[in-house]
Amino acid sequence: MKPTDTKNPEYFHKVVDCQYACPSHTPIPQYLRLIAQGRYSESYMVNWDSNVFPGILGRTCDRPCEPACRRGRVEEKPVAICRLKRVAADHKEDVKRMMPQGPFPPNGKKIALIGGGPSSLTVARDLAPIGYEIHLFDDQSKGGGFMRSQIPSFRLPDEVLDEEVGYILDLGIHTHFNHYVSSMKEMLEKDYDAIYVGTGAPRGRDLPDLPGRWDAKENIHVGINWLASVAFEHTKSIGKRVLVLGGGNTAMDCCRTARRLGGTDVKVVVRSPKSEMKASEWEIEDALHEDIPIFDNHVPKSFVVKDGKLQGMMFEKVKAVYDDTGKRKLIPTGEPDVFFEADDAIVAIGQENSFPWIERDLGIEFNEWGMPILDAKTFASTHPKVFFGGDASLGPKNIITSVAQGHQVAISIHLLCEGLNIKQDRPSPFVNLHSMKMGIHEWSYDSQVVNDKRYIVPQADKSETLNNIKKEVELGFDELEAFKEAERCLNCDMQTVFEENLCIECDACVDVCPTDCITFTFNEEDEGEMRAKLTMPALNTDQSLYVSDKVKTGRIMVKDENVCLHCGLCAERCPTSAWDMKQFYYNVTKAHNMGEDGLPPTVIY
């Protein structure tokens, strides 16, 4: 094997599993340490720079970071990264003074953002500080897009949303709310230097052909429309018996909202087995906690309507069968059909993109599924001035993905307006690697790994939350719990860096390593053979091997990154400092950090 090229920032980046898994690559260990130090405002700013909505995401993120967390590989459960983010938002002081301060000298360029959701707001935030005149259009009365209309306020209070949307709009964004853009042609005729489409996936899937669907329209709702109607207080009640169809997060929000609007007997019915439900594990738990049973393997057959009034629904019982390729088929079990009584039914089985307002003769090409044809990196459409991002680009995903795409779109727009190549001139990430050595056996980070189980976020009492739709269910960690939970972080950004020229092969690192990560051995051509012959075979092939050049005896050092605790003992027990613990800082460069005129990158140690 060849020695690992640690100069390539992606090598160490991959070791920081959580940050690598985060679509916008938030420096997670960095902000967790700041929380543990009680520096909430700084922690908030590290987040704000990367993911723009720390308070919102700290309550609603899909948390791709947590399944990746190394703690989950050495102990049972990952660090509660998401809810710690909320702690930074809850306990921060005035952070506005740490944000770019307008008014910003104009650069003469004008941008239109269509849609006021997370991706548009991200583009706005990244471009406003460098002088862009930004016009944001949305048909709702306030910014936030689907974060406002789809996420119930018992999960995400309005104040949090208003505050974080406000930080961006206060950068001098020209907002055009209650303004539905009905023609792209008209927009293109105006003098915008670039137009960004961040209109999300606004159409909820329905069951138009299911018998009875149109016989009781009043009592059959489409999930996302119904949630929006509740959010804007057009809908204030629902029947006592409610059926929610679907197994995603929208279904979970629907059933829990129904519980608060008068539903006393709310059931979730899903086609697939429970194990394959799309909803996040914790959202399912919260629904179950609110006495909402989930019936899986039930396929809807018909709405049962009598005298124009919904009576309930018939379901066929199925089981999942998998063929050799792992493809799932739902096969009827042959049991008698099941009838559930209901006063209302909510269909929450997915959402789709829809671009009826984009004329098809403008040079913006769409594929066979009606999605815009885009460049995967730049998010440029086939029209040179039009970009897509968020759920409107590659289909419905989540907020954090939208934010990540927003950053990239902002870079594309900036490059375009600067007359640069939007593909080739994209900036490299900002990286730094510096030693944490403070004394002979002292590091300037808390290297002692604690054994501690994941803390549970306390919740308000059910009797209170179910009677008040505005009452936030999760109370958030208090400072002490937050400290303890943050201390569970293994500091994976503290890299073990090996310098073969200094090594005297005393084996001290090998002997002390608690998780047997380090092996000195002779090189192999094949990575598989190398993985197999290590002291502890490196069977997790998603994780890299760190391979050194030859040491004096001709052997090489091989470290399996998989379960390294970043405890620093290898460096501590190394008599020659061949090992060192170095903090690796990786931050995606934002549009406003580019070039010589850009703002300095956010670096808070």
């Binding site: 054994n451 092969e505 001290a508 002390v512 069977l539």
Partner: protein
């Protein structure tokens, strides 16, 4: 100083026949200098005991005074231990062994503890062939007292301060063979592939097993000119042969290159397999072992590997013809069988 080691271990750590992982054989975190050879030997002991499925509570670890003698704290935390007086480990080991012959006795000593203050005890415990493993962690220097030459430092070896040692060394391995030790081996702390099989063989040897292990002192004796440094040991190690310990019934898996493979079957059916590198040497012949050591010395080499083995030694309990039941389990009725028996015995002397 490092004082904390996380308790997380690799989640796929293998288990031995007792259901233990190697973690159950570990000790507390070492307080020795970073890079000390002794720590590697501790790890080798942990690994050997783990691989041999030894029950930790059936081991007694004993030591005297010195850096080496601190190490019993750093391995086998679940075993019995006795940290005795300087150079007096053999006496304590003898007493313990006579009282309870069912334990495995691992004695750890250093070059100061064995070759200077404890020399009198060292030679006698060999003579008596006490059933134990005696490990000398040999670094040629008094580390605890800031780096004076010890009795095993080679003549001409240069200290960290630059002085040249004028005295010839005591060669502990030759001495042990000379005095009739039934198992003698030498190794190097930085070569666990060699050290662990030797330890396993020594543990299974039913008599006195002596292991002299070159174990560099990084702080006081790892300088150029030292003959006990990592670099010197690596460059001057000459091996009698790579040995592999083969437990009973296990199929032989290790493949050797060209050359002669010798198998020494041990008392309990296990075996030591050798790829012999030195053809003039016969591990069961004391004379050839001593001449191999002398030849290596002339070439300024450190001869490592198994040096000498007597497969059927007569250990102290056999010599003294002690009872089959360990002495500490004999009850009062057995020990004081009464006046009638006493009279019978007295009658026998008349």
């Amino acid at each position: 100083m490092t004082f904390y080691k996380p308790s997380f271990r690799h989640p796929e750590l293998p288990k031995n026949k007792l259901g233990y992982t190697s973690a159950e054989y570990e000790g507390v975190i070492s307080t020795l200098c970073a890079g000390c050879g002794h720590d590697s030997i501790s790890t080798a002991i942990v690994q050997a005991c783990f691989e041999l499925d030894i029950e930790p509570h059936k081991v007694a670890k004993l030591s005297g005074i010195g850096c080496s003698s601190k190490t019993p704290a750093y391995f086998l935390s679940n075993s019995h231990g006795f940290n005795s007086v300087h150079g007096r480990m053999p006496a304590v080991a003898t007493g313990a062994n006579l009282a309870n012959k069912e334990l495995l006795y691992i004695g750890v000593s250093g070059d100061g503890d064995s070759a200077s203050i404890g020399m009198g005890q060292f030679v006698h415990v060999i003579r008596k062939n006490l059933n134990m493993v005696y490990i000398c962690m040999n670094n040629g220097v008094y580390g605890l007292t800031k780096g004076q030459d010890s009795a095993t430092a080679d003549v001409g070896s240069i200290s960290k301060a630059g002085s040249v040692n004028p005295y010839p060394p005591i060669d502990l391995a030759s001495l042990a063979i000379e005095l009739g030790a039934s198992f003698v081996a030498q190794s190097f702390s930085g070569d666990k592939d060699q050290l662990i099989p030797l330890l396993k063989a020594a543990i299974n040897h039913p008599g006195f097993a002596f292991l002299n292990v070159v174990s560099p002192c990084v702080t006081f004796n790892n300088n150029p000119g030292s003959t006990k440094s990592y670099q010197f040991a690596r460059e001057h190690a000459a091996c009698t042969g790579r040995a592999d310990y083969v437990p009973v019934m296990d199929p032989i898996t290790k493949s050797y290159g060209e050359g002669e493979v010798t198998t020494i079957e041990l008392h309990d059916g296990s075996a030591l397999q050798f790829h012999k590198l030195d053809n003039e040497w016969n591990p069961e012949d004391r004379l050839s072992a001593i001449s191999a050591l002398k030849r290596a010395e002339e070439k300024q080499e450190v001869l490592t590997g198994l040096l000498y083995i007597n497969r059927n030694p007569k250990e102290l309990h056999n010599i003294l013809n002690t009872s089959d039941t360990p002495l500490n389990r004999l009850n009062e009725a057995t020990l004081c069988p009464g006046n009638d028996i006493l009279q019978d015995i007295n009658e026998g002397f008349r």
